[in-house]
């Protein structure tokens, strides 16, 4: 089972949120909006390629359009191992947070 880092988790969540419209630029814009920092398109694609190798996401190429100068979009979708990895990551994070004593006034 593959593990994932913080940025990978953010990318997976962005793809899940965008649904069918998840391609490089929309994922990048979603990440910038949520993480409140600039994200380069290269970093997004490098992460997506790595996650595709792990089987977390799958991709397919769309139709070429004139607005992109005849270049096709590459769409992404979260696969079952990706969903499992997300759940596992959340459980681990929750478990670590549960160790901290709650502050009460």
């Amino acid at each position: 089972m593959g593990t994932m880092g913080e940025f990978e988790r953010a990318v997976l969540l962005a793809i899940s949120r965008l649904g069918d419209g998840a391609y490089g630029m929309s994922v990048r814009q979603e990440l910038e909006k949520r993480l409140k920092r600039s994200v380069s398109i290269g970093a997004v694609y490098t992460t997506l390629d790595r996650m595709e190798e792990k089987g977390f996401v799958s991709s397919w190429v769309g139709e070429p359009t004139a607005e992109r100068g005849g270049r096709a979009k590459k769409y992404f979708r979260v696969e079952a191992p990706g969903v499992q990895a997300l759940n596992r990551s959340k459980e681990m994070s929750d478990a670590v947070w549960a160790l901290l004593p709650m502050r009460t006034k």
């Binding site: 694609y45 270049r71 096709a72």
Partner: protein
């Protein structure tokens, strides 16, 4: 409210049509409308005439291509050499020739082609060009948009190079280990 003259009304209508064409990504229609719009003010040059003819020709080619693909009467070889993506690229190039503001720095795109994996080249370049033309240029102007494009390319190269270096180091370490054992 000031009343518009007949000519002004026509200008407004044309502008609305041009904006609609741009919003739908129909660059070729936009250019034709723009030419028509400008034709009323300045005489048509030889180059304008040529551009319009090119667009009509390419539009016809696109219809032929679609029909051939629909009815399956197109060989695989022809399909590969004469794809719709290629036609769109030609349309797009003509639009950019007409509007200097929409030209992105080509050397920056070349850097992407040199360093990115083959599977991602078109997608990354397309994403950047789309945002450059339709978000950054209208918002910040051509010069700032070109700076944005270069910044995006340069900041995109580091993660790609880092991944390649790490992979190479991994292979080197593995081969060293195997050699010793």
């Amino acid at each position: 409210v000031a009343k518009l003259t007949k000519r002004q009304k026509r200008e407004v209508d044309m502008r609305v049509l041009m904006e609609q064409a741009l919003a739908h990504g129909e660059d070729w229609k936009y250019v034709l409308l723009k030419r028509k719009f400008e034709r009323e003010r300045v005489p048509l040059t030889h180059y304008d005439q040529y551009t319009s003819e090119m667009f009509e020709y390419l539009g016809e080619q696109r219809r032929v291509l679609r029909n051939a693909r629909k009815h399956g009467g197109m060989s695989r070889h022809l399909d590969a050499s004469f794809s719709e993506g290629h036609l769109f690229r030609v349309f797009s190039d003509i639009v950019v020739m007409n509007d200097k503001r929409l030209r992105h720095p080509i050397w920056a795109e070349y850097l992407l082609y040199l360093l990115l994996p083959r599977a991602d080249r078109d997608a990354v370049a397309g994403d950047l060009i789309e945002e450059f033309r339709y978000t950054i240029v209208p918002k910040f102007g051509a010069r700032a948009a070109r700076f944005w494009f270069v910044k995006q390319v340069l900041s995109s190269l580091w993660p790609v190079l880092k991944q390649r270096v790490l992979k190479a180091l991994g292979i080197l370490a593995a081969s060293k280990y195997l050699w010793r054992s």
